[in-house]
Amino acid sequence: MAALSTAAGRVALRPSVWARVGWVLLAVYVVYALGRLDFSWPRFVTGLDNGARFFARMLPPRVAQPDSLLQGLTESLEIAILASCIGILLSLPIGLLAARNLMPAWASWPARALIAATRSFHPVIVAIIFVKAVGFGALAGIGALVVGSVGFIGKLFAEAIEEISLKQVEAIRATGAPFMNVITYGVMPQVFGRFIGFATYQLDSNLRNSTMVGIVGAGGIGGTLFSAFQRFDYDFVAAILLSIIAMIMVGEVLAAWVRGVFLEKGKVEEE
């Protein structure tokens, strides 16, 4: 009987003290940060009011300037394609240099530092620097996205190479193959599938960012969008946003298809 009562008094799955401390700290931080950032209930409510009016003005979407919309979208697409192409070509040697299992430390450290440096800034900030260096227009956008692509693909490519099996590399080396052949026949076949994955992902991501670099004057639809915002042309803003989303979704579907084609296993067959 006594045993039964203690069993009933025991709590299964007792909540942990540390979890409670965590929740309290989280609550304290949220209140503190909300205070620092000047949040207030009346401001939020006025905002909701504004929001309702804002959305009313966005509907129905209206294509005020079809020419500039089409031109902006085309330019964004061109920026994304060229930046991906140049970025991928540049990141292949850099990623290879950064792979610590194939390269000596004096080659891999500078390459890794370069990759880390290109990754630390948002493409829009890089675009500001490029606008200063090469002037307003698509060239600045291409430059900014090339920098971003080198950082992303270079890092993932280096990591993919670091994970390969060295047995095949050794086998090719043992035949006395020169360095380039070791890369072509020992390393590339092992990382090709993942490389296709990064490359299509990067094209996708460049397409998204190419619609934004225009905000700082680096070409593409972003400039049209920003100026429509500043003129309070909210129905045109809605039209631009819908067309950007449509373009990105088409890009995503195409990228998934390309991945499917390349990652499908080949069927060895006789002809």
Partner: protein, 270 residues
């Protein structure tokens, strides 16, 4: 006998079926055509390109020396605001993304309609860039950190919700079935069946998103949504390149520190 040998010698082997070869050829062709077409029609002014080294030298000269004295008065508060925007935005995003992520996982909420609706919300959140979210919220709430925080939160919902939903769908059925057999309620199944299984994925997604948000919140100020980007925008508009250099350096430092913090925490708890 001889004919069979002849046949064996003249046989050719192919790695891919004709359909696969056609698909690959089409992709290569489209890629090359797209690159050529873009390179021919994109508007590049060659004079600007030749001038670039000169301009970069000029830029670096103007940026040097970095205006360190500008930090206490003009940069520090904005930098802290950026960190608050990123952190608070991430917390808000997680709070909103968890229910949507649950609704998107078919094994947790067995209704295709609800799954589909939740996935639609997640896709919509991800297809709008955080700068566009910021522009929208600036138009609604006026310039300031509130717009920035909401922009970060709304952009992150899609990312966090998608990854949490996928982690839930990969959860092992065994534990859940055992709980079901004891008559555990739906919420108890979530707390004691799903949560322990998705916990590592959840923390790594949350940390990863915070890291991304620190980078992203640094640019939101360019469209008026608060944080260090506002300081950057002011310095750029006034052509105070020494101060621009100071702001860029502080962004770089914060991003590096954030990455180190995330790596350290991940190594400790995962």
């Amino acid at each position: 006998m001889n004919a069979a040998l002849d046949h064996a010698q003249t046989r050719t082997w192919r790695r891919f079926s004709p359909r696969q070869r056609l698909a690959r050829f089409t992709i290569y062709f489209v890629i090359v055509a797209a690159i050529v077409a873009s390179a021919r029609s994109v508007e590049v002014i060659p004079e600007f390109l030749y001038d670039a080294p000169e301009q970069v030298r000029d830029l670096l000269q103007r940026m040097w020396p970095i205006a360190w004295s500008h930090y206490p008065g003009g940069v520090h508060d904005a930098l802290m605001e950026t960190l608050h925007i990123a952190t608070l935005g991430t917390i808000l995003a997680i709070a909103m993304a968890l229910p949507i992520g649950l609704a998107a996982a078919h094994n947790v909420v067995p209704s295709r309609t609800i799954n589909y609706l939740a996935k639609l919300v997640l896709v919509a959140s991800r297809s709008v860039n955080s700068l566009v979210w910021a522009l929208l919220f600036v138009a609604v709430f006026g310039p300031g950190a509130l717009a920035g925080t909401l922009a970060i939160a709304f952009r992150s919902i899609g990312f966090v919700g998608k990854l949490v939903g996928e982690a839930l769908e990969e959860a092992d059925r065994g534990t859940i079935e055992a709980l079901e057999a004891t008559g555990a309620s739906w919420s108890a199944q979530l707390a004691w069946g799903y949560w322990p299984q998705v916990q590592p994925a959840f923390w790594s997604v949350a940390l990863f998103r915070w890291d991304i948000n620190v980078r992203e919140s640094a640019v939101l100020g360019l469209v008026g949504a608060g944080g260090i980007g506002m300081a950057l925008d002011t310095a750029l508009n006034l052509f105070q390149w020494n101060r621009v250099a100071m702001v860029l350096f502080s962004i770089f430092a914060v991003v590096v520190v954030a990455e180190i913090v995330v790596t350290q925490i991940r190594d400790r708890i995962l």
